[in-house]
């Protein structure tokens, strides 16, 4: 009896690890659709990792206003051609790979249930379908379509507890390539007359736990603080304290901003696709929780943030 390896059901957690690896290691050029609320945007992504281990990415908006984001290792360039502005920053995502979690999949498994639920076909490629269901209502779930051969993510849905899709990313076309021409990773705009903003300072902030002042007295089980930073924010006079929590899948940011003659925002919720925001004020500070978690979760977290002596 001949068993087709493509049809042997893999362990979904191992598949996700392989997917994560493939996303970083492979060279690919694809067009995907980003669907959120009632709208759809189309973008092109090009990803390359060269022999030296340098990673390059370029994201191009194909609908609406023209935008490009180009990443070279830990440097990210945002290009706004209509306004002739380009901004360079250090990539914050690269810093957030949480080394304190010894085995991310095992940690995540405590708060989510992983199931291989079937097979599908996306962008002409055969895929495994995985459900990632949260154990409680304080988180969202995911549904993933992973290419059987390359292990690249072909489609993903962010879902609430009722199964309604809040956000979706789906490749309409995906080419996995041996080599990618460097020219494809350059901006398509003539940046000669652009205004350049360089924001690549190497400031790092260490979090002194003994002097911790702001803490959430409640956060869903499994969320741990993975980063602390102080970010200058537009429209904010003073830098804003930023606490980042993660359970391995979802990320929640808590911002603490000292109000300086600004009108406080009280008890306001907002959302963009699968991201919910809740903001309230206390003792002259603006407390805002943002995350890919339900509205109730950000509301409970923000309202639980108190200053400690």
């Amino acid at each position: 009896m001949i068993v087709n390896a493509d049809n042997v059901s893999p362990d979904p957690r191992i598949l996700i690890d392989e997917m994560s690896n493939a996303t970083h290691e492979l060279n690919y050029d694809g067009i995907f659709v980003y669907r959120y609320d009632k709208q759809i945007d189309t973008m092109r992504i090009i990803h390359k990792k060269n022999k030296n281990g340098d990673v390059y990415e370029r994201l191009v908006s194909l609908t609406g206003n023209r935008r490009e984001i180009i990443r070279e290792n830990d440097r990210v360039k945002y290009i706004f051609p209509e306004n002739k502005v380009a901004i360079i920053e250090k990539s914050k995502m690269g810093q957030l790979i949480s080394s304190y979690i010894p085995d991310p999949i095992q940690s995540i498994s405590k708060f989510y249930i992983f199931n291989l639920v079937g097979q599908g076909r996306i962008a002409g490629l055969n895929a495994w379908i995985i459900n990632i269901k949260p154990i409680d209502r304080f988180r969202y779930g995911y549904q993933l379509w992973i290419d059987k051969k390359s292990k690249l993510l072909l489609k993903s849905k962010l879902k609430n507890f009722q199964g309604v899709t809040l956000e979706q990313v789906m490749f309409a076309q995906l080419n996995i390539l041996k080599n990618i021409d460097d020219a494809l990773l350059k901006s398509s705009f003539n940046e000669q007359n652009f205004t350049w903003i360089n924001n690549t300072s190497d400031k790092t902030f260490t979090y002194d736990i003994s002097r911790k002042k702001w803490i959430p007295s409640w956060i869903p089980k499994g969320f741990f603080m993975s980063k602390y930073t102080i970010d200058p924010m537009p429209n904010s006079v003073l830098p804003v304290e930023h606490f980042i929590y993660s359970d391995g899948l979802a990320t929640i940011s808590i911002y603490v901003e000292k109000l300086n003659n600004q009108q406080p925002i009280n008890d306001e919720t907002a959302n963009f696709g699968g991201v919910n925001t809740y903001s309230t004020s206390t003792d002259g500070y603006q407390i805002t929780a943002v995350g890919e978690v339900p509205k109730t979760t950000v509301q409970l977290i923000a309202n639980s943030v108190k200053s400690s002596p």
Partner: protein
């Protein structure tokens, strides 16, 4: 006292009193209230037929009949949604740079760009396959879709800044490294 708390919590589950901080404080600190919260959600799932196949649901029709005889409670819970403006520069960390960008924008007096190519969907995203996890597929009625409310521009800008900043720190490398950047690109291009 407990009865009053339970009634307030029940209303909160239905979306009322969402701004009642006392209830939120109790939920955070009171284990008993959290258990009640869980039970209310389970009851609601029973009534809506959202239980797994193994649970026997025959009593739902009788309960629904009783509910039909009760007055309708209309939730005024609203989720405010951004109507975003193409303000460049909010992705910048430095406030000085933000002022420079805004100055450039004012100088050029660039009119808003119409999103002619954006496809607007009329319906919520509900697929037929693998839509739910362990619950049966449900139809979302128009009444259940929360209304969007416009913020004033300063509030919307400030909340927008937090959202953009959060997307940059999105630690979901395992899941989808494209999505956080896709959000930033999309927010940037919205009017």
């Amino acid at each position: 006292m407990q009865k009053d708390n339970n009634e307030a919590l029940s209303a909160f589950v239905d979306g009322e009193h969402s701004k009642n901080k006392d209830i939120l404080e109790d939920l955070v600190h009171d284990d008993v209230m959290r258990e009640v919260w869980k039970r209310y959600h389970l009851i609601r799932d029973c009534l809506r037929g959202n239980l797994s196949e193994k649970i026997h649901n025959n009593f739902i029709s009788e309960v629904n009949q009783h509910l039909e005889n009760e007055p309708t409670i209309i939730s005024n819970n609203k989720t405010k949604q951004f109507k975003l403006e193409p303000v460049i520069g909010f992705a910048i960390a430095a406030s000085v740079a933000a002022v420079a960008i805004l100055g450039i924008q004012n100088k050029n007096n660039i009119p808003p760009i119409e999103l002619k190519d954006t496809i607007v969907m009329d319906e919520n995203i509900i697929d037929s396959q693998f839509e739910t996890f362990s619950f049966p597929e449900i139809q979302i009625s128009p009444a259940a879709v929360e209304q969007s409310t416009q913020f004033n521009s300063i509030t919307q800008q400030r909340l927008n800044n937090y959202l953009i900043n959060h997307s940059k720190y999105k630690n979901n490398i395992k899941m989808n490294s494209v999505l956080p950047y896709a959000r930033i690109v999309t927010i940037e291009s919205k009017e």
